[in-house]
Point group: C2
Chain length 454, copies 2
């Protein structure tokens, strides 16, 4: 039996004999009775075990240190007046493996910084149990949403020769480390992918609806709480779809994923709400129930300028067409003005990517970012440029050699009628759902500049 | 509407007006009527469209080349006497985007070798539509199985500093390419992971049940049909579990995943059975219904020796304790002797990994491989060594510096009572389920030595 089984069935197991293996969280001797708190990781809740000198194995049990593994046989006793609904009255304790005294996670509060140093152990704490279980649930919810809507999961390549996307600095993948790429493993320069989008688009032309969900990499020397060198992205792409379909998909996906986590992980969310972010559950429930708004980029500029004219101060107050909106602007729009998640569409073409569809106005592209209260941009996407000449013109503008991407650009020659998609940084979503404020705390073993542990 | 919607609802849509966007697979003019075959990727089946000179847009439609995108309005007409259950009687055709004449996938048979050269287009062929849709379904089935059994999905790191596992040659990840690792991005030598197992084990100590599912890499210069440089692995790990639990888990998982594909993708399986492997459906249905057998390694040796004594010839006939069983031996055992999937357990310790639990006989470890008819080894795993001294002794035997893995080995100090898990190469499973004989044909964009396309 595991502890989840006891929690799921404690009413029918009342007064029954149960057997449990678990890890000791605490163990204290009283005069008449002793208490051991166990966890086995199958559920966030702990199990309280009561034992006495007459319990078989009392000697062993009373010596069990924090983190030791014990097997308990006992009777499940309801405790309706206490916080936990039941406890175990032990008849027998077996110390299966004794932990050393120097176990780093003794029962006290540890700083997130200290816990990041021991990422092989921190998942045993309740906070990280909650975060990583929600991460797991959310990952499944993403697959579930797309699969139920007939999207094909495409594992796009991690090692790539695409270096012309301009999406960020890349790691080199090599066996020789001598820059002689012709004699390297792949016979050409190889890098870690920054996005599966271009490959995903090719597959959307085959399956109409596809999504990717895999690791992506940035060799950027960023030391912020929002950036990691290795993170996971979800990139759906839909052929024959335009920016409005894209907006609908983002909204449907986000509501579905957050709704599923609310359904499955309320215990974890309640714990994190207490530990990390007051109001967390209301915040994410708001996502599920909200009617999202749509603003054009130019509407946003006007709203920001109006606010400034009325005395609001941003760090960046020079509001002009071509401005790359900052998080302060994004949060102002969705938190103060619209008070709901907001799609911003039709950004200036010169601040967006070469593959985005140019609008008829000659100055904007059919890009869309989703802004959510508390975080700003959560995901972004676009309709793709279908016109071969227009995409070549954008390549020239950005200094991209179209021959290096001829397979991608050339898709437009073989029957191409609209395509739209977006990218969602998985860790950003998990930070939003869990209330964790540092990306290092939502990745099992985070990778950042100068940090490569475990 | 998409074509899947028509197939799912054609009975209620009978004689109704429908509108469809799709890609032209073929287009031929008859004297009185013309026929266009469309596909939109939402379902394996094509859609036949009948049109006539009086159809609006006839001129455009009759010029639509293979791979062009068209929009069809028309009436859905049942065709009970034909292979396809219905067709569309077009009232209007709009040519949304004309393909160039030189589209590489004209309607004829192409060799797998040619198609591998155009992996950005080959998913449009029926064979690859079937393979990659099954790949997607199977990936989801794996997540579904583990999530429903309360396993936590752990994304173990892709970039790693673990280079002491001995599991294979690794790619280096670098920004400087000068072997001066202290000044490289991570301040130490970084590689692409060959396995998430060790990190997964740490998380199993926190959650009891975990699984990984992510890309892994081998910088091996192998030019076989079974090896790729980048492939996906599933690695479950269960704390407090032994080799028998491991056997049960492998069997349950495999039956669940194959059963789910049989439930969801029978159309694709029937197509692949016709194209790639006669008897495919019986073969995989056999997995779902089989009672798997368990043999010890020494039993297998005896069976092989008996067969040789009776005149059977293997390529390797020197059967002795310490022999690493070849595919010929594995297939003989499960195909000729047991006639069912077979677990082989208790391999010689010196041909297995340092972390495997040593049995009391002093010469074997609690390792288990699953052999399946038609392929041999499908997955392998073990119970893990819980005893610190014994694992250190194995490190010494293999020349592994235990200090480089002290975080992993040290888990044994902090309360460690059994752990077991296994690794399943996802592509090997997909080859088995689809009948594809080359690993390059089950990976969307395969990576192999000297080949890095798209």
């Amino acid at each position: 039996m595991d502890i989840k089984f006891l929690y799921d069935n404690h009413e029918t197991l009342k007064e029954q004999k149960v057997t449990i293996i678990g890890r000791v969280r605490s163990n204290r001797q009283g005069k008449a009775v002793s208490f051991m708190v166990l966890n086995d990781g199958t559920v966030l809740n702990d199990l309280q075990v009561v034992y006495k000198p007459e319990t078989v194995g009392f000697e062993q049990g009373s010596k069990a240190r924090v983190s030791s593994i014990v097997e308990i046989e006992g009777i499940l006793i309801p405790t309706p007046t206490r916080p936990q609904p039941f406890e175990i009255n032990a008849t027998s304790i077996t110390l299966l493996d004794q932990a050393i005294e120097e176990y780093p996670l003794q029962k006290k509060e540890h700083s997130p910084e200290f816990l990041r140093e021991i990422s092989h152990l921190r998942a045993r704490t309740k906070t990280f149990q909650a975060i990583f279980r929600i991460r797991s649930t959310a990952a499944f919810a993403i697959h579930k949403f797309f699969q139920e809507n007939n999207y094909v999961y495409v594992t796009t390549p991690i090692i790539t020769s695409n270096d012309a996307e301009g999406a960020g600095e890349q790691f080199v993948v090599t066996v020789n480390e001598d820059k002689d790429y012709a004699n390297d493993f792949f016979g050409k320069k190889a890098s870690l992918t920054v996005s599966g989008q271009l490959n995903g688009e090719a597959f959307a032309q085959a399956f109409k609806n596809i999504y990717t969900f895999g690791p992506t990499f940035r060799a950027e020397n960023s030391h912020t709480t929002k950036h990691a060198s290795e993170f996971w992205m979800i990139e759906p792409e839909v052929a024959f779809a335009d920016i409005n379909d894209n907006i609908q998909l983002m909204q449907d996906m986000l509501k579905s994923v957050v709704g599923y986590v609310l359904e499955k992980n309320m215990t974890e969310l309640e714990f994190l709400q207490e530990q990390l972010e007051p109001g967390l559950i209301d915040k994410i429930t708001g996502i599920v129930n909200a009617e999202f708004k749509v603003n054009t980029y130019e509407e946003v500029l006007k709203t920001l300028q109006d606010a400034i004219d009325k005395g609001h101060k941003f760090e960046e107050n020079n509001i002009h067409f071509g401005l790359d909106l900052g998080t302060e602007h994004e949060r102002f729009i969705c938190e103060e003005v619209n008070k709901c998640p907001t799609f911003v569409i039709n950004y200036p073409k010169d601040i967006k990517s070469f593959y985005m569809k140019q609008n008829d106005d000659g100055k904007t592209v059919a890009a869309v970012d989703l802004l959510v209260p508390g975080i700003g941009e959560l995901c972004g996407g676009s309709e793709r440029e279908a016109n071969l000449d227009k995409i070549l013109e954008r390549c020239e503008f950005y200094g991209i050699n179209p021959e290096e991407l001829d397979w991608y650009i050339g898709l437009r020659k073989y029957g191409f009628y609209k395509s739209a998609g977006f990218g969602l940084g998985f860790e950003r979503l998990i930070m939003y759902i869990t209330g964790a404020s540092n990306i290092r705390d939502v990745i099992p073993f985070p990778r950042t500049p100068k940090t490569l542990l475990y």
